[in-house]
């Protein structure tokens, strides 16, 4: 499995501001995934991030609202822009395993509350 860390672990933000979430992996990976988990809900993929190219967004998610950077093979950031209370969620990054490439492993998540 991969060891994944996320920063911050939680934050409380004001409406209209932006927050950048960092995801760090202990090994080089091709693709990183960003998921959103709204309160009491399941996980929904926001986008996939490949190093050196634009992120690919799922239907309902746009780059202006959720810009993603992927500067190298071990790191990615997700920004939640112009936040509203509806953005209050847990945001998780995940990667495929080094040996078990069919399995995704998740970071500890970032709990975001927007007031």
């Amino acid at each position: 499995s991969a060891v994944i860390s996320q920063k911050p672990s939680r934050d409380i933000c004001q409406r209209g501001t932006s927050l950048t979430i960092q995801c760090q992996v202990d090994s080089q990976v091709t693709m990183m995934f960003w998921y959103r988990q709204q309160p009491g809900q399941s996980l929904t993929l926001i986008a996939t991030a490949n190093q050196g190219s634009e992120a690919t967004y799922e239907s309902g998610f746009v780059i202006d609202k959720f810009p993603i950077s992927r500067p190298n093979l071990t790191f990615s950031t997700l920004t939640v822009s112009n936040m509203s209370p509806e953005d209050s969620s847990i945001y998780l990054c995940s990667v495929e395993g080094r040996t078990s490439t069919d399995t995704q492993y998740f970071g500890p998540g970032t709990r975001l509350t927007v007031l």
Binding site: S42, N50, S100, D102, G109, R111
Partner: protein, 115 residues
Amino acid sequence: AQTVTQSQPEMSVQEAETVTLSCTYDTSESDYYLFWYKQPPSRQMILVIRQEAYKQQNATENRFSVNFQKAAKSFSLKISDSQLGDAAMYFCAYRTPFRNEKLTFGTGTRLTIIP
């Protein structure tokens, strides 16, 4: 599009007893992967067990086993000798056999362990 259904929003089981969580899915693919993830209150998504669709043998991991019925598109999780630490949300997930593909999650089952 693939869908994953978990029809039991909540389940409870007496400590040391056995419980089965249900999952059905819909896909037109013949090869794919299925997973059960556990999410305790810490919100970390933890892989419990995985199943490759082309393998007829049901996967087992210690006290956790699955009943994979490919024709019925059913993938249930059996937890034997339930322990207090098993209390969590359990998510069933599907993935195609291709690398760097997203996970499609069910809505989850909240499992409570009764001491």
